[in-house]
């Protein structure tokens, strides 16, 4: 496969990381003044911005308002300047292509499991995610950013929503190595890529998406690597949220 490019003999990846190392994470809460909650997340060169409006009254027809829970509306889009892989057909005005549509669907599934929507009957929560720069792991970054934005908006959640990705490198000499947090070059190499999302740091996966062929026996190490990536990211984002809370409470006094 493409093992040579992914992991060198010394055990370093193309960007100098170790196989289980995550990319540098930078996160900011409350970046948009108008939105109820917003977050900006950078994972390496992948930059994602998320905004949350709500909970508010259901726009449009009242009939769509579910009587016992909140209506979660998710929109994902990729900025035209985001780059990220092959030339994609530009979608029609105001529309999104299939890839963004799928991402929105998956994101909604994760957030529905995380948001305690029974506390907000007949209301709507809008989540908008925009990918500003794509360098691998956009789905995971979108999920994490949306989770941060929901925290910033004060929506009740079961726990922090974090996502991570992992892949597998098969160097010609040596056993296959699981890689955490793939970059775009590693994703394009054609090896298997797994994206998972966890809620509340529990061992359960709210999202699991695997592309490209992976032998059944190699699934376990890749799953473990992905979960480890989630936990690592969770630790970083946790400290960011706490710092923000301290800042907010300090300003109030």
């Amino acid at each position: 496969m493409a093992g040579l490019e992914l992991v060198s003999d010394a055990g370093f990846r193309a960007d100098g990381r170790r196989p289980d190392e995550l990319r540098k994470v930078r996160a900011r809460l409350g970046v948009l003044a108008r939105a109820d909650g917003s977050a900006y997340l950078e994972q390496g060169n992948t930059k994602v911005l998320a905004a949350v409006y709500g909970p508010h009254e259901v726009r449009g027809s009242r009939a769509k308002a579910p009587p016992d829970r909140a209506l979660l509306s998710v929109r994902c889009s990729s900025a035209p300047f985001a780059g990220g892989g092959e030339r994609r057909r530009r979608p029609a005005q105001g529309g999104t292509d299939r890839r963004s549509g799928e991402r929105a669907l998956l994101l909604r599934g994760v957030l529905e499991g995380a948001v305690l929507s029974q506390l907000y009957p007949r209301s709507q929560i809008d989540v908008h995610v925009q990918v500003l720069q794509a360098d691998g792991g956009e789905l995971g970054a979108s999920v994490s950013a949306a989770g941060l934005a929901l925290l910033d908006a004060g929506v009740a959640l079961r726990g922090a929503v974090v996502a991570g990705s992992a892949g597998l490198a098969e160097p010609p000499a040596g056993p296959p190595v699981a890689l955490s947090d793939l970059s775009a070059a590693e994703e394009a190499a054609g090896g298997p890529r797994l994206a998972v999302a966890t809620v509340a740091g529990s061992g359960q996966l709210a999202l699991c998406q695997l592309s490209a062929r992976l032998h059944q026996e190699r699934l376990r190490p890749v799953l473990d690597a992905a979960q480890a990536a989630c936990q690592g990211l969770h630790a970083v984002l946790d400290s960011v949220v706490r710092a923000r809370l301290r800042q907010d409470t300090a300003m109030e006094h």
């Binding site: 209506l71 998710v74 529309g95 909604r108 699934l219």
Partner: protein
């Protein structure tokens, strides 16, 4: 040829993992509760076990690359076609693959044509990942002239009937059609490209490395119960879905979780093991079907859709017999009869020229249990015979009425019912039918048919 598609994403609703279509009949609460309760007791509506697939039927059309796959009642039609086009600039030596699944209102009333619904997007993306990203087709072999002409293989799938689990049926249909397809042979001499017609040279099959097959797992009750191959009803009440695509070499081609699922990694690993077993079975089935079709074509036998449509009924689906567990029905029935009160004497006034169709009599559930058992043992489809008997019962009704009028004082309840009440606790009417005298036989048969009719009208 490009498809003009205007993707317009309305606010995604939060109803179901696959998005509720506006015109679909909503599922009633009692049906939802019933399904969930049955799943808790590990029972499915069609009698399958948790990990059982429905029957898969593969039939081929007369053209190469056309097939219909029936998974239970879900039907998907797949058609492969090819065309010479210019390659993508970034991949000058690779052929182009195009996959498309269409949903139409023909399959189910809630599916709207053309509009990019969530279900359509998720199905298409999943099938694309399953077939394209897994590299099951060798695209390098589709190159004719590097940078100028390559084959574009187009796989179109149409959903003909929606009874759940479109993903699996479509993935089987797709891979079978691709295996079945033959593209025209082509030869290049310098600058000249000659495409041979099927008469000049035999068409060439596509080079397919492996056959990825999707297996769907539906999760219920927050991930406690899982079912393989959900039907449409089960899909409506499920929490979330996990699709694992695998080939027979135990290579996972794609995993996709959708909806609200909370899965443990162990559950995913267990599902992958189940998938391996199922994929092996399905791959064997596919190989056999392809071989049979190949044999039929070579030997000059008949092939095509017209041959494979069942000759019994064209317009309706045949009901398959479902195994019903009747082991403890007798004990249960006996208990209920023992506890039940005997039917009270209800004053019923008969006027000449009217017939009574069994209403107004206090039913004792024990009687109904027995007749249900009989119905389960009897064959279905005796509508004509039953109709005859209905007519006969009516005439007998009036005749017995006249008899009772003339012979005895007015009986408060129907004489037939009384006799049946005496008979049933001791002897099973099934047995009395064959042994008893005709006098005893007729009332029990009449009562049985009356109840059959009552059951049919009440359905």
């Amino acid at each position: 040829m490009t498809r003009a598609r205007s993707p317009s994403f309305a606010r995604l609703s939060a109803r179901h993992p696959h998005g509720a279509a506006m015109k679909a009949t909503p599922l009633s609460n009692c049906e939802r509760r019933f399904l969930l309760r049955a799943i808790q007791e590990k029972k499915r509506l069609d009698g399958r076990q948790c990990y059982d697939y429905r029957n898969i039927r593969i039939s081929f059309g007369a053209d190469r690359g056309c097939c219909i796959v029936e998974l239970g009642r879900t039907r998907v039609l797949a058609q492969v076609s090819c065309e010479l086009v210019a390659p993508k600039p970034s991949r000058p030596t690779e052929g182009v693959l195009f996959f498309n699944l269409e949903l139409s209102p023909m399959a189910a009333p809630g599916l709207e044509p053309g509009r990019q619904s969530e279900l359509l997007v998720s199905l298409n993306r999943l099938l694309e990942r399953c077939l394209r990203d897994s590299k099951c087709i060798e695209t390098e072999s589709l190159c004719v002239v590097a940078g100028e002409k390559v084959w574009q293989i187009r796989l179109d799938m149409h959903l003909l009937n929606h009874d759940g689990n479109i993903t699996d049926a479509a993935s089987i249909a797709g891979i079978v059609a691709l295996c079945h397809f033959r593209r025209p042979d082509v030869s290049v001499q310098g600058e000249e490209v000659t495409v041979y017609t099927p008469e000049e040279r035999d068409p060439v099959p596509l080079s397919i490395h492996h056959m990825p097959i999707c297996v769907s797992f539906a999760f219920f009750h927050q991930g406690t119960y899982l079912l393989v191959d959900p039907t449409e009803r089960e899909e409506r009440v499920m929490d979330g879905l996990l699709v694992i695509a695998m080939n027979k070499h135990h290579e996972i081609c794609t995993i996709q979780s959708s909806g609200v699922v909370m899965l443990l990694p162990d559950q995913i690993l267990r599902c992958s093991k189940i998938t391996a077993v199922k994929v092996a079975e399905i791959t064997e089935l596919i190989q056999k079907a392809l071989e049979n079709d190949q044999k039929a074509r070579k030997e000059g036998g008949k092939f095509g859709f017209a041959e494979s449509i069942p000759n019994q009924r064209i317009t309706a689906f045949k009901m398959e017999s479902a195994a019903v567990d009747t082991n403890d029905v007798e004990e249960q029935a006996g208990e209920i009869i023992a506890k039940a009160d005997p039917p009270s004497e209800v004053p019923v006034v008969h006027t000449p020229g009217t017939a009574q169709i069994g209403e107004g009599i206090e039913s004792s559930w024990g009687d109904l249990e027995e007749s249900e058992k009989e119905e389960a043992a009897e064959e279905e489809g005796e509508s004509e015979a039953a109709a005859f008997e209905c007519v006969k019962v009516e005439t007998e009704d009036t005749s017995t009425l006249k008899e009772t009028k003339s012979d005895e004082p007015i009986v408060v309840s129907d004489s037939e019912e009384e006799e049946v009440v005496i008979l049933e606790p001791q002897e099973l009417p099934r047995k009395t039918r064959t042994q008893a005298s005709s006098k005893q036989e007729n009332p029990s048969k009449k009562a049985f048919n009356k109840r059959r009719r009552k059951k049919r009208t009440s359905r």
